[in-house]
């Protein structure tokens, strides 16, 4: 199963942290994130995407499968039951889904729309298990939710925050794949 999913930027700041095998405290979570970042960040991109990391909180034999896109590391910590290349593809699916959802996703989207990132991830991985890998179905589910959301809010008192103005192209987007 997938024990945890992290998105960490090049400076080690977590942009998303999802722990499917929960750990007891925020402190330990942060220490796990730090350790994972240290292990992953020291590897040049020419290395393989697998690292037999050591995260004792999740038991022995945890493998870190990660991809590095521009400013972000997408790290999946999995046990030996998962297919190594399958998870690599899953990261790609996750990124492509985010890309479609945000139209050229960049780090700022993940910061200011953490909610949507969570909704997308929840459609792909659930409780540490792969739920759906079909991008159009994933997006469909997200859109359904959004429609329901609007409907339930009536006229939608939401305000489109000025993120568009701050949004920058951080090397992400079409070049992601």
């Amino acid at each position: 199963m997938i024990k945890g999913i992290l998105i960490i930027n090049n400076h080690g700041k977590p942009r998303l942290a999802k722990f499917y095998q929960s750990v007891t405290s925020e402190e330990i979570q942060q220490s796990i994130i730090r350790r994972i970042f240290q292990q992953v960040a020291s590897r040049p991109d020419s290395f393989c995407n697998y690292l037999e990391g050591s995260i004792p909180e999740w038991g022995s034999n945890i493998k870190l499968i990660y991809r590095h896109y521009a400013t972000l590391y997408f790290v999946f910590a999995v046990d030996s039951q998962e297919s190594d290349l399958g998870i690599l593809d899953l990261i790609q699916v996750f990124v492509e889904a985010l890309d479609k959802c945000f139209e050229n996703v960049c780090e700022l989207d993940l910061i200011f729309h953490a909610d949507r990132v969570h909704y997308v991830l929840d459609e792909i991985v659930m409780g540490g298990m792969v739920l759906e890998t079909n991008i159009s179905l994933i997006l469909q589910a997200i859109e359904d939710q959004a429609r329901m959301d609007k409907k339930s809010q009536g006229m939608g008192n939401a305000q489109q925050a000025g993120t568009e103005t701050v949004k920058q192209q951080l090397g992400a987007g079409t070049h992601w794949a």
Binding site: T24, E26, E52, G86, Q92, A114, M126, Q140, M148, S152
Partner: protein, 976 residues
């Protein structure tokens, strides 16, 4: 799409603009305080309970604050309030609130949280909120459907025990209900899987399998994928209960692989749903016997045919693609197919195994790191199969060695693992040598693992255990810090448990040499100390390895040793002191000092050892210091356990380590046979049990009695005496006496050895062998049969008679060793004896005295100055010796002139306290001009009567001569 509140945006922007960690945490604290105030506002007036939410908050505000809490939580700050607001949102009827509530719920609450109980009913009603089937079909994503999904997702993410107990029935119902939408089915399947993982045996497999069969016929690939996840989880726990589902799974695999039937949106880079294929293949790996036809049922036959066809198609038709994502997906399937082939082992078709091996051979030589990494990993699995595959893997040894030097540690680890798995008796030496060589360069991250694996391999595949001892010593010298205690403990165990051959003597000698340099790793000192304490006596005859020298070499490390090492050293010292009288004065002060040690263990050991001699009878002391009995052979060694700890149960390396190798089985069989024979012999020979209690075995179903430890000190003394006297007794016990008479002329010598039967019975098959050595040319002549070294040969020596051996020797080169002689015989009871002895033919036997004038002596003395040519050592007079006076010095002088055959150069000795001598060492070798090669030797003994010590200095033209003369001089002075 869902949008967010401006307040939240501002808060995030503030945090991003924070210049320091402090500023950020201040901002967070401020925000937390504000939210706490907002949430609590309604409390004071309305209720005293802290759990209640503030009804005054608007929906917008509540969502906003909860999102802020979630954001703060993700940043790593503790959020210990607001849970009731989250619950409030979950309970809401508005979808927008519910959605936020559920996401926050799964992030902020953990399984055991008691608050969960208050929300169980809400979740349940959300779970069963499915509308009427008719309206479900038409409307995509009705509110109820989506709400169900949210609830399922939350249950899966939280997965607390209470939730499971309360809700698993509803989840099951959602999964199997015909009215559930695909989305709900998918989520229910995974949710159920999560619940089953947390709480196995939630329901009986036999009853549930038909439901799964139903689901496996669903046309929706998403539902199939989730169902397969659930099935893999269930079948992993109880494979037998789901075996009936194999045909369904094979059918789906056939559709995807053979017919490429797949909805367009499930094509991932043109490959039909790779995730589903992987899951199908993983499920099949649970049934390694699937290909065996159990019944003649035609449908099962088709199923098997379809399966092999599909696997073979995956194997042969996967091609390298330009798109990395396409290639990843295809290879993911391919690797899973190979795993399945590995799983089938020899029950699978041969050509599939060969095809897999060929592919993997290609993969491990590509540049692309992911494929190479996975290739190495999968090949390690394939290599474990019996028959054929292991041979195929060996062909790739060179390629694997290249990956061992890769820059990427993940790749290196896999290469190491594969090398470990592919190792067997044929290639062990090469692989272990390569690994040891690589260890020098390897970085710290992988060293411990390498050391552990090398140690296991060396033990497993050693055809000669001396190689094993050498390998571990190399590990200690290269990477001593990573040689854990279990590794060196294992060396001790193996050396102790294998008395056959000369392993114990070899280990003792090698370790003594290893510990000789002033700087050596502490682990080396520990092993050396332990092994010398047990088996040092086996080598005490060898020059430079006497008990005293063993003590000196070990004790030089005392000051740099920690308490553990010192404790081992103390026990070794006690054993040395027991065997060698001359060690006692050296050991006593160490014990005396340690009695005040702060370390309790050291204090106790030294106090006990020091007092032992007075407190107990000599027999009891002997008993206390006897060698340790052989160690019990455990099913699993400490090394294997360590490996398992590091790599987990199902690692290829662990499986391999647990399987005994041919070499190990052979050793175990030998040991068992030896033990049985020993017991047999003990039964036969309980009359004379003392003689063979120290016996050792040669592994050929018979017990061989060696030299009892008790006679060793006397034997050493006899040997030393004989080095400087023309005749005497070399060895004596209740059965046999060995006497030696030897005389020399220049480079030639004539040695007569007598073997007298002292017992009351005939000694049968009496044989003597003398090891060849390069520096001596030996002619042998003996009583008939005496030199016949075959089993069953030899002569008989009757009671009170002697066998005789005559040796004519000529020395060809300087040397510092004494030739070894092995005496073997059998008593009438059939007990075999074998005594390794040494002939007292030492360098000084071939000296011719030279008398030099003082001037000439000093001139040569100075010309021979230099490290190589000079040897010097200080020796204490024996404790019981009288004062060093002129009479004493005369005796020493007599030893130098008569024993060592040096000419006294009295002109150089103005006081009685020095003795100078000169001699020529004659050899039978010729130089270019046809003259015999001779070596000039000088010796000086200087006495220090106050310190009761002598300093011996030798200078000769040849380093070996210097050493040899010094050694003989030292032991002779000690015996004077």
């Amino acid at each position: 799409m869902a949008s967010q509140a401006r307040g939240l945006q501002n808060f995030i922007s503030d945090l991003r603009n924070a210049k320091s960690k402090e500023e950020e945490s201040n901002r967070v604290e401020r925000e937390l305080a504000k939210i706490r105030r907002k949430f609590a506002a309604g409390l004071s007036s309305k209720s005293s309970s802290n759990d209640a939410s503030n009804p005054a908050l608007s929906s917008y505000q509540r969502k906003k604050y909860v999102w802020k809490l979630v954001y703060i939580h993700v940043l790593g700050y503790e959020v210990d309030f607001g849970h009731s607001e989250v619950l409030m949102l979950v309970k809401s009827n508005k979808f927008s609130e519910k959605q936020v509530g559920y996401v926050a719920l799964s992030l902020l609450l953990r399984g055991g949280d008691p608050l969960i109980n208050t929300i169980v009913n809400t979740i349940r009603s959300d779970l069963i909120s499915a509308g009427a089937p008719s309206h479900m079909k038409s409307s995509v994503g009705s509110q109820n459907d989506t709400t169900q999904s949210l609830a399922l997702c939350s249950i899966a993410n939280i997965s607390g025990l209470e939730l499971i107990q309360a809700l698993h029935v509803e989840v099951q119902h959602n999964l199997v209900s015909k009215t559930s939408s695909p989305n709900v089915k998918k989520k229910s399947a995974l949710c159920l899987l999560r619940l089953v993982r947390t709480s196995p045996n939630l329901f009986a497999g036999r009853e549930f399998a038909p439901h799964i069969a139903q689901l496996l016929q669903d046309r929706h690939l998403g539902v199939l994928t989730s169902t397969m996840s659930l099935l893999n989880g269930l079948a992993g726990q109880h494979p037998a209960e789901y075996e009936s589902l194999i045909p369904y799974v094979v059918h789906i695999l056939g559709m995807l692989v053979l017919k490429k039937a797949c909805a367009k949106e499930y094509l991932y880079y043109r490959t039909p749903s790779p995730w589903l294929q992987i899951k199908l293949l993983k499920f099949l790996q649970l049934y390694p016997q699937a290909l065996l036809e159990k019944d003649a049922n035609p449908s099962s036959k088709t199923s098997i045919a379809q399966l092999t066809q599909a696997v073979s198609k995956i194997l042969t038709e996967t091609d390298v693609s330009d798109s990395i994502n396409k290639s990843n997906a295809d290879h993911a399937i391919l690797f899973e197919a190979v795993n399945l082939i590995v799983c089938w082992g020899s029950t699978g078709p041969q050509q599939l195994r060969e095809g897999a091996m060929k592919l993997l051979g290609k993969f491990i030589s590509v540049r692309e790191p992911n494929i190479r990494y996975l290739g190495l990993m999968t090949m390690a699995k394939l290599a474990q199969l019996d028959g054929g595959s292991a041979e195929g893997v060996k062909k790739h040894q060179a390629t694997v060695l290249v990956s061992l030097k890769d820059a990427d540690i993940s790749v290196r680890r896999r290469a190491l693992d594969l090398l470990f798995v592919m190792c067997d008796s044929d290639n062990a030496e090469r692989i272990v040598d390569e690994l040891v060589n690589h260890l020098v360069l390897a970085d710290a991250a992988i060293r411990e693992e390498m050391v552990l694996k090398i140690a296991i391999l060396a033990e497993k595949y050693a055809t000669d255990l001396r190689w094993y001892v050498d390998t571990i010593l190399k590990l200690i010298s290269i990477s001593g810090d990573h040689v854990s205690d279990p590794i060196w403990h294992r060396v001790v165990q193996i050396v102790t448990n294998h008395p056959q051959g000369d392993l114990q003597a070899y280990a003792a000698a090698t370790l003594l040499v290893a510990a000789s340099p002033r700087r050596c790793h502490e682990t080396a000192v520990r092993v050396a100390a332990y092994v010398l304490g047990e088996f040092g006596f086996l080598i005490a005859e060898r020059p430079g390895m006497s008990g005293e020298e063993q003590f000196r070499i070990l004790h030089q490390h005392w000051h740099n040793s920690d308490a553990t090492t010192r404790a081992i050293l103390i026990s070794t010292y006690a054993k040395l002191a027991n065997l060698y009288e001359e060690c006692r004065p050296l050991v006593a002060p160490v014990f005396a000092r340690c009695k005040n040690s702060v370390d309790v263990e050291i204090q106790q050991r030294s106090a006990e050892y020091a007092a032992m001699r007075e407190a107990f009878s000599p027999e009891a002391v002997e008993d206390l210091l006897r060698e340790m009995p052989p160690f019990e052979d455990k099913e699993q060694t400490a090394l294997e356990m360590r490996l398992k700890e590091k790599e987990g149960e199902d690692s290829a390396a662990v499986v391999k380590a647990a399987r005994p190798s041919a070499a190990q089985r052979q050793r175990a069989a030998q040991a068992a046979a030896a033990k049985a024979a020993e017991e047999e012999a003990a039964r036969q020979n309980d009359r004379d049990i003392r003689d063979d209690s120290n016996g050792y075995t040669n592994g050929k179903n018979s017990v061989v009695v060696g030299i009892p430890k008790e006679v060793i000190p006397a034997m050493r003394k006899a040997f030393s005496n004989l080095c400087t006297s023309p005749s005497g007794v070399l060895f004596e016990n209740s059965l046999l006496q060995v006497g030696v008479k030897h005389e020399y002329q220049g480079s030639q010598g004539r040695i007569t050895v007598f073997f007298g039967n002292l017992g009351s019975n005939l000694l049968k098959h009496f044989r003597v062998s003398i090891d060849d050595c390069d520096h001596l040319r030996v002619q042998k002549q003996g009583t008939e049969g005496l030199l016949d070294d075959e089993d069953g040969g030899g002569c008989s020596v009757a009671v009170r008679t002697q066998a005789k051996l005559l040796l004519l020797v000529e020395v060809m080169a300087p040397f510092d060793d004494a030739p070894a002689m092995r005496v073997k015989f059998e008593t009438t009871e059939g007990i075999k004896h074998e005594y390794p002895l040494r002939l007292p033919i030492v360098a000084t036997c071939f000296m011719e005295p030279v008398i030099l004038e003082a001037g000439a002596f000093m001139q040569r003395w100075k010309s021979l100055e230099g490290q190589e040519r000079e040897c010097q050592e200080i020796v204490k007079a024996p404790q019981n010796a009288p004062e060093i006076d002129e009479e004493y010095m005369d005796r020493i002088a007599a030893i130098i002139t008569e024993g060592l055959k040096f000419g006294r150069c009295a002109g150089c000795d103005p006081t009685p306290w020095t003795i100078s001598g000169a001699a020529t060492f004659r050899t039978g070798s010729k130089d270019k001009n046809g003259n015999n090669i001779n070596v000039g030797c000088l010796v000086r003994v200087e006495a220090n009567p106050q310190a009761r010590a002598f300093r011996v200095t030798t200078r000769t033209l040849h380093p070996l001569c210097s050493k040899a003369v010094k050694n003989v001089a030292l032991v002779s002075i000690k015996l004077a």
